[in-house]
Each structure stands twice: as structure tokens, then as C-alpha cells.
Amino acid sequence: MNTETTMRLGVLFSGGKDSLFACWKAMQHEEVACLITVISRNPESYMFHTPNIHLAGLQAEAAGLPLVEAETAGEKETELLDLRRALLEARDRFGIEGVVTGAILSVYQASRVQRLCHDLDLWCFNPLWHTDQEAYMEDLIGAGFRVIITGVFSCPFDASWLGREIDHRALNELRGAARKYRITLTGEGGEFETFVVDAPFFSRRIAIEEASKVYRNHNGVLHIERAGLVER
């Protein structure tokens, strides 16, 4: 590899804060050629399931980046074959030389992507790997990301958290919850899921026009039914 030239990279993309922040980091060092999304039909998928993945296309449009999408039934190891198919498509269509993920602590997810990249002779980047979670959340807000919570799966989150933006006040409350309930500040343990409505590299932001909440006993999801792009 010629270290003087930038690499063309594909970003594994869920629409949540970690993949978009990793994308932004990648843009500061290399060229992001496309986003890559795997849409899982299995809500129990450890690798890919996330609420509102159907809006990945809208986020990609806001970012001005092409999106490679692949569907998967979400069964444990066959979903990796579907991810492999998506990576091959990204390599063929956009000439990617490497893949970026938003993995923070999950060895399960990171090692599976590492193996696929190794098999396909692609570089693998995890710019949030074992990051200082406190500093990361501050950076996220400070850089201008607007992130809302779209899923809660743990105590102490009640229904009021669904749709709430992670601003400094919410972050302070998350800190308190992290101390008291031993959850991760970033939701890395699956305690909550997020959706990014604005990012420093978006040309327009996402406006949520219609959404519904389903919540019971510290488990809930905000389903975004209609959304569009508006001027920032």
C-alpha cells in the first residue's frame, strides 16, 4: 500500500451513533466510498438487528454517500454470508480496499468482521475500539451529531427515553444510570439503541414526521414511520 494516498473504504452502517461516528472518523483520514447495510429480518440477530434500519437510505442521502444494502434472514452464521455478499458488492461497485466498523467492545462482532476482511483481502478499521466511552460521548455531542434514542432494553429506562435526544443533560442522566445500574455509557451492552438525525457531514438533517412507541417493563422501541430531509 502507498501510504501517501488515501484508501477507499466502505463503512458498515446501522444508522446508529457508533457507525456514523466511525464513518466521520474515517472521513478525516481516508476516503469513504460507500455505506454498507445488512437488513436483518431476525430481531434477535446479534450482528445486525437495529430498529429503523429501513431509514439507512435516507441517512445515506443526507450524507451524500451511496448505500450498498443486503438482506439477511438473520440466522447465526448464514448472516455472515450475506455480509460477505454485501462486502463483495461494495468492492466490485465502489472499489473499496477496506471496511470500517463502529465496534467498541464486542469481540463477537469485531472478530467476525475481521475474519471476513481477512478472507476478502480487505483492511479492517475499528476507530472506536476500546475507546474511552466518556470522551467519546462528549466528542459525539461536541462534534454536532444529533442522536436520538430509538430503543431501550434495560433498567432504568422508561418510555420517556424513546425519541429523546442525547444532549448534555441526557448524557448526565446516562452517567448516573451507568454508575447506579452498571450499564455502559454508550449502550454497547445492548441497553439502548440510537438513530442519528444529523451529523457534521450531512448536507441536510432528518426530520421525523411520524413515529410510534411500543414500551413495556424497561423494553421499548421507537418506530419511525415517516421521515424526510430538511435544511439544517
Binding site: 469481540v107 483492511w123 475500539w129 476500546h130
Partner: protein
């Protein structure tokens, strides 16, 4: 001061946060003062001021740092503790003429300690994260300290305080980096 050497493909690269940041963070957490230098920018004063050196790992495809292995010749005379992590053991391997062989490993593996050493004292077996394409061959110049079911995972030079780990201690085994720092304090 601990000199943390970034072996990634470019100074301030996209890989730095992944392979260098966690190591420096663990050191800061135990009160150490890590100074991070890209391998192309390590100077003689950096080495003179260092109580110990950590050679960090890299992405699997990243081997540019081995294009000039002679730049790591200081390893022969440094005399203070050195820790090579995963691909960060390659400069040690090259400097001391140890052979390597293909042996890809990605994910968690069980590590068994087989020789007594302060770095692993009190541990018999532990799980660790590996990310490598090669394994080292056994040589009488290095003592194998720990193994997995497939290869040697930790080595120490037979007379110098130079350690080489195939796995990544910054993932799930921060205690190893903390103990390495202790070694630099007591050295």
C-alpha cells in the same frame, strides 16, 4: 516514561485509535506517562528517556513497518523492558532472527502459562483476544512463557527484559500492561 511506538501505516492514521489508543489509555490509568511516537519518528533522545517501550499492534494487512527492520536495531542494546504486542513482536522477531510461520488467528482463545515469569505470576490459564497471521518458531534465545492450542502466545528473551505477545493484552487483559508498567518501575 513509557515510549509507546505506533507501527501503523501512517502517522496519525485511522488505525491509531484502535491499536495505540487503548494501550496508552491503560498506562495513563495506572499513573504512567506514555509518550506516543510513530515508528518513523522515534529518536535517540526518545529511547534514552524511556523506562520501557511498547511496540503496539497493527491491522492484519499492515506490514509497512517491516520494510526497514534495521530501524529497530536499538532493541539489541536498549536493556530496559520492551513489550511487543501481536504484529509489534515482528521487529523483535526480525532483530533476533526468530523464524515465523503462517498461523492466522482471529477471536478469543485460551492461553496457558507454561513458564514462571513476573508478567504472568499467579495465572495458569486465561482467555485472550488474538488478531494475527503468523506464529513464531521456538528458539533457544527466547523462553516460551505461554501457549494456546495452536501456537506460542508469549515469549521472553533469555537474558534481556524483552517480551513478545501474540495476543492483544489491551483487550480483556489490561492487567498484563499494568504489570509491564510495574516491571519498568522496578527495573
Amino acid at each position: 516514561m513509557i515510549l509507546v511506538i505506533d507501527l501503523c501505516y501512517r502517522e496519525n492514521s485511522l488505525s491509531r485509535a484502535e491499536f495505540v489508543g487503548p494501550v496508552a489509555g491503560i498506562l495513563r490509568g495506572v499513573g504512567a506517562v506514555p509518550i506516543v511516537r510513530h515508528y518513523t519518528a522515534v529518536s535517540a533522545p526518545d529511547l534514552e528517556a524511556a523506562d520501557g517501550v511498547i511496540l503496539c499492534g497493527t491491522a492484519l494487512k499492515d506490514r509497512g513497518f517491516m520494510e526497514g527492520p534495521e530501524r529497530f536495531g536499538w532493541l539489541r542494546v536498549f536493556g530496559r523492558p520492551v513489550l511487543g504486542i501481536s504484529s509489534g513482536m515482528l521487529p523483535i522477531v526480525a532483530t533476533f532472527d526468530i523464524g515465523i510461520e503462517p498461523c492466522p488467528g482471529i477471536g478469543m482463545t485460551d492461553i496457558q502459562v507454561i513458564s514462571p515469569d513476573p508478567l504472568f505470576a499467579g495465572k495458569e490459564i486465561f482467555a485472550a483476544y488474538e488478531l494475527h497471521e503468523f506464529a513464531v518458531q521456538v528458539t533457544d534465545r527466547f523462553v516460551p512463557l505461554a501457549v494456546s492450542d495452536r501456537c506460542t502466545q508469549a515469549l521472553r528473551h533469555c537474558s534481556l527484559p524483552i517480551y513478545a505477545l501474540l495476543f492483544h493484552p489491551e483487550v480483556r487483559n489490561e492487567w498484563i500492561i499494568e504489570r509491564f508498567f510495574d516491571l519498568t518501575e522496578s527495573d
